[in-house]
Symmetry: C2
Subunit: 206 residues, 2 copies
């Protein structure tokens, strides 16, 4: 049995999504159906369906590639902060030893690896904590924000925000100690710093 290929509308959705996220399709681009259909060598029908998905996801708004304003980003980060804070608090009580070891591993990699490793390790650090809630709804919400988070993370790790890894270490420590309240607070402070650093460096405005 051979693996069935995803239909064009799904593929189109995925490639467009990727291209928007990595900047190949820049912010504010008008997405015209015929233009995209030409580019991907398929008809307008699957393109339309891809665009609808992107719109529901919030990456496209009214046919234009959407860049969130500073206010938008602050709102998104508030949600992230609330949910990841909860996740950290929860982890302090319920984290598995495997996950805890993973966290330590990611800290090590983030200190020693190359840029790409660091990026991935920092992503996994946060993701592991979120997944430790074992609540797919929470994971889903965070994942939906990954597009913006990714941009921010790229900034803070590649531009070496000071103390970033130290903070990860502290968070990990408090989770290990079972100190949920402290862990929650640390995550929220940590994210607040990421936010300010990124907004500053990216020169985001309203």
């Amino acid at each position: 049995m051979q693996k069935k290929e995803a239909p064009n509308n799904i593929q189109a959705y995925e490639t467009l999504r990727d291209q928007i996220l990595n900047g190949k399709i820049p912010a504010n681009t008008k997405l015209t159906e015929t233009m995209l259909a030409d580019k991907l060598n398929i008809s307008r029908t699957p393109i339309r369906e891809a665009i609808i998905r992107l719109e529901e996801e919030g990456l496209v708004k009214n046919k234009y590639v959407y860049i969130p304003s500073e206010t938008d980003i602050r709102h998104i980060f508030q949600v992230r902060s609330i949910l990841e804070g909860f996740a950290a608090k929860y982890s302090a009580d319920f984290i598995s030893t495997e996950s805890l070891n993973k966290l330590k591993e990611y800290i090590k990699t983030a200190r020693n690896g190359d840029d790409n490793d660091k990026l991935k390790a920092n992503y996994l650090f946060h993701q592991t904590i979120v997944e430790e809630t074992h609540n797919p709804e929470i994971v889903k919400i965070i994942n939906k924000m990954q597009s913006i988070i990714y941009l921010m993370r790229k900034t803070v790790t590649l531009q070496h925000r000071p103390h970033l890894i130290d903070e990860h270490e502290e968070i990990c420590q408090e989770i290990e100690n079972g100190n949920g309240e402290k862990a929650e607070k640390l995550v929220q402070d940590h994210l607040a710093k990421d936010l300010e650093f990124s907004i500053n460096r990216l020169g985001i405005t309203n």
Copy 2:
């Protein structure tokens, strides 16, 4: 200038959404494009687009109308509890007098009005607190859960869960007192009770 009518695909999305929510299209129904196209007297194209929207929203999964399991509902309620808890805490510090008066108004209506008034008042009570965050992301997430929440609310208010309104009153009180921590806790306990009551009465299983 006359008001432009929404395109068929949007209208189809809205009517299907409504019909799923009020049970006209029962859970687990297979949504076939031709069948719906016939019923709404339009072609398959706009139907497909409507279904994609419903799928992105989570109301439809793999062409079937989706009913969340008990576990799903618990997960959803955990998110709701975290976010509404935050909203209550936030409100304690920042709520406007207008909103506070509204809350009191809704409590009164929920005590005296008819079933329909009660239902609406209880909805507005929670919605007002959520909106007081002035964070559209939070509002959006909660709204996306409204389908399930609606079901639950119908149960708890129409089957008169005891102390429901008393709890609203306490929450309102603590918000007015500026006691955020207490308000947060009360909201979370309140929602936990709603959840258990509803699951019990609706006979939801996995």
